[in-house]
Structure formats: structure tokens, C-alpha cells
Symmetry: none
Subunit: 122 residues, 4 copies
DNA sequence: GTGGTCTAGACCACA
DNA sequence: GTGGTCTAGACCACG
């Protein structure tokens, strides 16, 4: 599980970390129960500050994607399927609108979504 | 076409404007060739700074969603660039991953996508 | 509204700030809609770092006690009465248990609670 | 008397132990004079470090909730110091403030306090 | 001018 | 050794 950070991006680094870890879990590169790297290790690996990683982990914990056991660090949470969040739905709606404006038909869009949904599963 | 701005949101106001206009076009509330409000009018209507609206319009122009006509101001562009942008795909992939982690099956996810894609068309 | 911070306390500074602001709102020293000091101002006033104040404000926002308008800073939120949180109830239960072990009768305890509840209202 | 520890909680484990034992005494699940499990036994039962349990017991002793007898280990102290501590009062004031901000009337709050105070007694 | 983000350290509580 | 907290700066996006 390697993170690719874009330091010149508009998106904050901690959010890039958050997004990539969420994707990593969704695509089964990170299994439920698996331990994440320690804050220090990940910070060093990426050449960034501890606090930036800490912020990403904090966010992931709030969202229920990971849990941090006081004894052994952060682990991927089994995740209680509480349904998609408002942010998820809003973001999805926007991206689908962009797809339509890019000229895709409904069939093409759904085909694309199907492939993206299954990425990392096959 | 009314904008709903959330001033306490994490998302910058200019981006909220951009997103809602894109969605408005996709959902046919804004037709190709239709004129958008002037920067000044929209700024006053929403109680925000003109610079903020200007930034949103500039972004929309760069992305090809609107064109700025010298005589009639900003109008909805009849045709956008072919194919979804990298940002659109990345965002879509992320949101679909979140859907999966929220417990949706592929069928449920595609059903949801289909409904969101068609919003405002029927 | 003056904050009293105990730098040698076990309780983190940002949490002391959070607690005192919550109490300030409850006791009507801070009215709904009122603007809080800017992060910089409060940090300077208390002789602490910006980030510490920022963390407190972030926490208060998450809990719904304040809202930060992108245009004008942080204001006291009208607060949607969603009922007491799990933490509130747990904390209350613990403190009432301590009261009992301190020898208070139910009447004495309720009398004390009534007075504390009304503090700053009369 | 079973302890329920939340390893991903914000609250330190030793404090969770302390709080639950205090509540256990207040709710008569632990009678005055009763023996607590040995440090080693409790640590093993909960899968935690002995140092953590030791810290909790030490805290409870300082607060007068338990006494350490040379022969029989830790026993519930028959009588605690008179009057609620400063921490108890501060915590109670905060939680009552939160109750008010959660929308409870004085009557509702006192009713709730009454029920929590009597828990485990009836 | 505002809050948000980030750095490069440091100290401490926890386990 | 772990994460949590804090500092004293800095830069930047936003409005």
C-alpha cells in the first residue's frame, strides 16, 4: 500500500491520505482488522509531518473507517454499514452530472461505474 | 435556478457555485445558450463578494461549461470537451469506493447511480 | 467572557477551552448568534498557540455548539436540540454516582443539580 | 462486576476502570468491604497491562474509594471523604450545561438526574 | 484579515 | 514505542 501524494495539489495532503486509504480499503488492498502503519512510520515514508498523518487518521476514525486501539495503533475497522453519507451522495451526484455533460449516455455511465466499483475485487 | 450556499461548509463558496451550476446544466435547469446572471447580480443576490462569483465563472469557463460573450455576458456553452476529466473520474472512483464500504452491493450502487444520473431529465 | 486556563492540568488546553465555551453558552454569557473572538485574538489573549484554539473551535463545531461562517468567523450556533449526547449522559451518571458516594441524599443531590442547572440564568 | 473497556475510546483505560469501579460501588454492585480482584487477575481478564490496572487502583485509593489491606488486597472502603470533590462539581456543572444546551428544561433535567442517581438502588 | 494547512521540532501520557 | 498535545513560526486559499 503505497501512497502517492501531490504536494502541489489543491487538495490538502491529509485529505489525499484519507481518500487513498478509503480507496485502499474499498479495493481490498487493506483488509478489515489489518494494522495501518504508525503515524511516525507513514510520515517518514512520505516525507511529511506527523501531524499531517495524524489529522488524516483522526478523520478516518471519525468516519468509522479505522479504529485506533490504544494498545496497538490504528487498524482497519470492520465498518458498520450505516449507509452512504450525505457527502458521498452529493459528490456522486455531481460526478454523474459531469459525466453526462461529458457526453456519456446512461449506459456508458453505468458501465463505467460498474467497472470502477469492482476495481480491486476481481 | 436558485443557489443554496452553505457558508459554514468545508467547501469554498466559489466551488459550491461552480458545482451547483454544473449540476443545473446537467439537470436541464439551465439550457445551452441561456444567459447566466451577471457577476454583480449574483453576488448581491447571495450576499457574497463579487470576487467569489468571478472566480466561479472563471473556473466554469476554463472547464468549458460556460462561455463569456462580449455582448451578453456569460452563457451556457452548447458543447463541452469530449470525455470525462481526470478529476471527474477520480472523484467518481472515490465515491463508488465509499458506497461499497457503506455496504451497498454492485446492483444497489448501479441502481443508485442510474437514478442520480437521470435526475432532472424525466 | 474570560477564559481561565490551567496549564498544569491533566485536561488538554483545547478541551478546557471547549468546556468553558460550552458553559459560557449554557450560562448565557455567550448569546446565540454572537461572534466568538478570532482564533488569533483568543490565542494571543491566552498566551497560547493558534492551533490549540483552532482545535477547540473545530471540536465545538463538530458538536454543533458553534458555526464558522467563512466570511465572518465563528459564531454561537442556535443549536439544534438533538437531545443529550452519549458522553453527556455517561459523564452525568458518573458524577451523580460520585455525589452519592460523597454522602449526599437524593434530595441534596437534586437540589445541587437544580442550582447548577440554573447558574447564570437568574 | 464485569468491566467493559473501549480500547478505541478517547478516555484512558485506567480511567475507564476507575470510573466503572466508582459506578459499581455507587450502584451497590460492589459492597463496602468487598474484595476487588487482584491486579494480576484483572489485567489478565481484560487483556491489558498490569501497570494500567495498578494505576487505576492507585487513583481509587487516593480518592478514598478503596483501601489496600496488606492481607486481603484491595477492598472497597466503607466510607469516603465528606462532600463532593472539586472535580465532581466541575464535571457536574459542565454536564448540566450540556443538558440545557441539548434543549432540556429544568424539570426534565432534574427528572433525568433523579433516575440516574437511583440507578442500581431500587 | 480570516481560518486552514503544514513544518520541525518537543514533551508527555499511556500501555 | 505509541499516539496526543503543544509550540513558534510559515504559507496559502478564501473572501
Amino acid at each position: 500500500m503505497l501512497l502517492k501524494l501531490d504536494f502541489s495539489s489543491d487538495k490538502p495532503i491529509y485529505m489525499q491520505i484519507r481518500d487513498q486509504i478509503v480507496l485502499g480499503i474499498a479495493q481490498r488492498q487493506l483488509a478489515a482488522g489489518e494494522r495501518l502503519p504508525t503515524i511516525r512510520a507513514l510520515a517518514e515514508e512520505c516525507g511529511i509531518n506527523m501531524m499531517t498523518v495524524s489529522k488524516a487518521y483522526q478523520l478516518l476514525r471519525q468516519e468509522g473507517y479505522i479504529a485506533t486501539d490504544r494498545r496497538s495503533g490504528a487498524v482497519v475497522s470492520p465498518r458498520q454499514g450505516a449507509g452512504p453519507s450525505k457527502e458521498t451522495l452529493e459528490g456522486l451526484r455531481l460526478r454523474l452530472g459531469e459525466l453526462r455533460l461529458a457526453g456519456l449516455s446512461k449506459e456508458e455511465a453505468l458501465d463505467l461505474c460498474g467497472r470502477l466499483f469492482e476495481e480491486g475485487t476481481e
